[in-house]
């Protein structure tokens, strides 16, 4: 006698890896003997794969931006809120401009391509990655570009080779397409 048929719920739990090992094993055994249940399991698996696609293509919100030293420097916020494809960066300019805190949250128009860089040296480039959903990819992009990363728990130092390696920029960013 076959064990009871799969519920969609059980199939879903199995796919999510949430079933206890014995339950998972008996579910597997059942699908080997029962074609409709095998199809149900396939449907759930396919849905999971589709959801991976949904997630990877979902336009991530630009991470919001809390530079490490925003009280001391003029901050230009390159808000890429509209241009969701681009990584939003906060550039902490080490320039001599006013330190008015009002400047902090001023979004720059999209025409600035999300970035505004002071001409003068030195400058510190800080990326804030507080958004949990995008933190890892944000961090990774930053790492690849040699930027400083602002974490909830502090600022991470990453090597800044972007302008100095002589590597074509495309070679760096093309290594790992980042969906933001």
């Amino acid at each position: 006698m076959l064990k009871p048929h799969l519920t969609r719920d059980a199939a879903e739990q199995y796919i999510l890896g949430a079933l206890a090992p014995e339950k998972a094993a008996s579910l597997e055994a059942h699908t080997l003997e029962c074609e409709p249940c095998a199809r149900l399991l396939q449907e759930e698996a396919l849905l999971s794969e589709q959801l991976e696609e949904v997630a990877s293509a979902f336009p991530r919100e630009a991470p919001v931006l809390r530079p490490a030293r925003w009280d001391t420097r003029r901050v230009a916020v390159g808000a890429a809120l509209a241009t969701a494809a681009s990584l939003a960066l906060v550039l902490l300019s080490g320039g001599q401009r006013s330190t008015s805190p009002d400047a902090i949250a001023t979004p720059t128009p999209p025409s600035l391509a999300g970035l505004e860089v002071e001409a003068g040296e030195p400058r510190t480039i800080v990326v804030a990655c507080p958004d949990l959903a995008t933190q890892a990819s944000c961090t990774q992009s930053a790492e690849e570009r040699g930027l400083l990363v602002q974490y909830p728990w502090g600022t991470g130092e990453v090597p800044r080779y972007e302008a100095r390696t002589g590597l074509p920029e495309g070679a760096l960013s093309a290594r790992r397409p980042v969906s933001l």
């Binding site: 719920d9 796919i15 589709q50 696609e53 949904v54 979902f58 958004d131 949990l132 390696t165």
Partner: protein, 215 residues
């Protein structure tokens, strides 16, 4: 190009974070590059971590293709064995997971299906030459499963769930294969709750994907 670039990319992120947080727990995505590099250098322990991380996804991708669950487990094992073998022979120049494993698995599944067909015709199993071809690591496993329309319906539905639920979903499904426990700790919820949320979002998206497109 890759040697130089990799050397740079692998430089560890130095974080001034609490010491009690193990690196594995805080940056499973961040350590992927390092693990991949170690695996490419033949480090078995690194392979083990990567296999543990991505195995489930490989199995699920095979189930989604209609492979029986027992065979899916076997093919997933075979997938890793092949990749490790390719690495040992110096045939792997880069290791982008899960894509490379998904590609290898899809290849094995297709090969399996061909063999089954041939077997049913001739009654004999020929050793197919394709079985020995390594998968080109530069080939992407990306397989579009959804139409543009489905995708935009799903995105619209996803935009309507609460930001925290969306966060959980995006964390769990971003290809990094974060364990649910890790997702839970990042968002400050219980594993139980994370799974509940995932199921709820899943149901909404299922409905959105199934909607009949109207003419």
């Amino acid at each position: 190009m890759s040697a130089a670039v990799q050397g740079l990319r692998m430089t560890t992120l130095r974080l001034s974070k609490e010491a009690d947080e193990p690196a594995e727990a805080t940056a499973p995505g961040g350590d992927e590059a390092l693990l991949s590099r170690r695996a490419l250098a033949g480090d078995r322990a690194a392979w083990d971590v990567l296999v543990a991380r991505h195995h489930r996804r490989v199995v699920v991708s095979l189930l989604a293709r209609g492979v029986r669950v027992d065979r899916a487990q076997e093919l997933a094992q075979e997938t890793w064995a092949r990749l490790i073998q390719q690495q040992q022979r110096g045939l792997l120049t880069e290791l982008r997971l899960p894509n490379l494993a998904l590609t290898q698995a899809a290849f094995l599944a297709a090969d399996d299906a061909r063999r089954a067909r041939r077997e049913s015709i001739t009654g004999a199993v020929d050793e197919l030459p394709e079985r020995h071809h390594p998968v080109d690591p530069s080939v992407s496993a990306e397989r579009r499963l959804l139409s543009e329309e489905q995708l935009s319906r799903a995105h619209a539905a996803l935009a309507q769930v609460s930001p925290s639920a969306r966060n959980v979903f995006l964390l769990a499904c971003d290809g990094q294969e974060l364990p649910h426990a890790e997702v839970a700790s990042r968002v400050g919820l219980s594993v139980q709750r994370v799974r509940q949320i995932l199921c709820e979002v899943r149901k909404k998206l299922r409905t959105a994907l199934e909607e009949e497109p109207h003419a």
